[in-house]
């Protein structure tokens, strides 16, 4: 029964893929029209790659700070961290981009779009990451903490040697998903005029009127960034697994 179901699923998925590729192949994309713009696309892709990489690191830092804030003993710190997370998670990214770019960055005298873009993504993604981290830490059973206390570890040693190593394994799928989101969300930064991948594709489209010839490379370009991340995450999950 289970086997039949899995064959059935396989056939549906395989048929779906075939149909999709058939359409792709039979459509006239007029690739030649976008050929002169290929360097614009490649430059945009490079920009998105670097932007995402910086934001990935910075958002992890932000996420860890917010996590520390949420776990802090001092209640006002906890409340502010919580408030930050809820505001970021409860409002659209587009609005945040506009507010940070036109109000905050401007008031702070910050004009480099790349830096502002990186900050916006990190501020946004950090809030989600801190929630994923918190979920991982709170999923460690109390008995583990009791045992760790009983062998005489200090509070910080308990985090370092018992909670975090176990939490890492549990948050990996969520974190890699969030990183993929971050890469895709960077496409919204075209609204502040950052010349990243999506912006370039939009310009190519505007210049050539060959929508799909501009946007199919866009999809592939994002996949080239997100797929390696997924593979890496699976690899790490295997390496960190301890329930054999």
């Amino acid at each position: 029964m289970k086997k039949a179901l899995s064959y059935f699923l396989f056939s549906i998925l395989a048929a779906g893929f075939c149909f999709f590729f058939y359409i792709l192949l039979s459509y006239d994309f007029s690739w030649h029209k976008i050929a002169p713009y290929r360097w614009n696309l490649i430059r945009g892709w490079g920009m998105t790659l670097i932007l995402s990489a910086c934001a990935l690191i910075l958002s992890s830092l932000f996420g860890s700070l917010l996590l520390a804030g949420q776990l802090a003993k001092f209640r006002p710190t906890r409340i502010l961290s919580r408030l930050y997370v809820e505001i970021i998670r409860g409002t659209p990214l587009l609005v945040q981009i506009l507010i940070i770019f036109y109000l905050i960055a401007d008031a702070a005298g910050l004009h480099n779009k790349f830096i502002i873009g990186t900050l916006i993504l990190s501020v946004f993604s950090g809030a989600y990451l801190s929630e994923i981290f918190r979920g991982g830490i709170e999923s460690i059973p109390r008995s583990q903490i009791q045992s760790a206390r009983a062998i005489g570890l200090t509070e910080s040693q308990i985090y370092r040697y018992v909670i975090i190593p176990q939490a890492i394994r549990r948050v990996l799928p969520g974190v890699s998903g969030q990183f993929a989101n971050l890469i895709k969300d960077s496409s919204l930064l075209y609204v502040i005029g950052l010349r990243e991948f999506t912006m370039q594709a939009r310009e190519v489209n505007a210049a050539t009127y060959s929508t799909f010839a501009a946007y199919i490379p866009l999809a592939i370009g994002y996949l080239l960034l997100t797929l390696p991340l997924a593979v890496l995450s699976h690899h790490l999950e295997k390496r960190f697994r301890y329930e054999h």
């Binding site: 008995s143 009791q146 760790a148 009983a150 062998i151 040693q157 040697y161």
Partner: protein, 244 residues
């Protein structure tokens, strides 16, 4: 080992887990066994003795030294003792041997090779060497408890606190673990043990303490307490549990 408790009270919300409990145990006594009905406060008393929690009022004195109820003193106390819970003592992300070496290295400041030597000595005692590179999830419950015991004794604890170490195990594994505890008691290791295994209590105890509703109803040698209990509640309880 000398242990005195004076007027200990411990409350969880409305539950009075320990009421004005006083106790005095002095030297020739090596193995103390706590028995009593479920909810009588055995685990609570063990946690206080192991400095995993603090009493609401009252004083604990170990070898004429009152246990101060500040974080630093409690940590020092925990570091001198070995503690074993009913279940889930080992850290699942570390191999059995790493579990034993962690407190030796991180808490007791041993070098890696010295920690390994102490670990091997402890494993030899319980014939656990063949399994030392397995993860806890690859061990039987009895093996897990024996490794947890090995971890507790590898630090050469002043006092070994065992809270129902076999109640999560089937009879065969129980026998396995009890044998190890008996060996330890023969070697002169001071032990406080709470258990529902009356036969075992009788066999290893130097002194038996009967708890009910947070109070000590009776205390004495196993011959006295199991042979001719004086308190009617204890008589009743023992006649019920000994019937099978």
């Amino acid at each position: 080992m000398n242990i005195e408790l004076h007027q200990i009270n411990k409350q969880y919300g409305k539950t009075h887990a320990l009421r004005d409990l006083s106790l005095c145990i002095s030297d020739p006594v090596n193995v103390i066994v706590l028995i009593g009905p479920s909810g009588s406060g055995k685990s609570t008393l063990m946690r206080l003795l192991g400095a995993l929690e603090s009493p609401d009022s009252g004083e604990l004195v170990f070898d004429q030294q009152p246990l101060l109820q500040n974080e630093e003193a409690l940590l020092q106390h925990r570091r001198q003792n070995g503690y074993l819970f009913q279940s889930f003592n080992l850290f699942p992300h570390l191999t059995a041997a790493e579990n034993i070496e962690l407190p030796l290295i991180k808490v007791h400041g041993k070098k890696a090779d010295e920690a390994n030597k102490l670990c091997q000595q402890a494993l030899e005692k319980f014939q656990l060497e063949p399994h030392q590179h397995k993860y806890p999830s690859q061990l039987s419950g009895g093996q897990q408890q024996r490794f947890a015991l090995a971890r507790a004794i590898a630090i050469q604890p002043r006092l070994l606190l065992l809270d129902e170490p076999t109640s999560a195990l089937d009879p065969e594994m129980t026998a396995e673990v009890l044998k190890v505890i008996e060996t330890l008691s023969r070697s002169g290791q001071p032990i406080i043990l709470s258990t529902h295994e009356m036969g075992f209590a009788r066999a290893v105890a130097d002194q038996v303490i009967f708890l009910a509703e947070g109070k000590i109803l009776e205390q004495g040698s196993p011959e006295e307490l199991f042979g001719k209990p004086s308190h009617p509640y204890v008589q009743n309880f023992l006649s019920k549990v000994m019937r099978y």
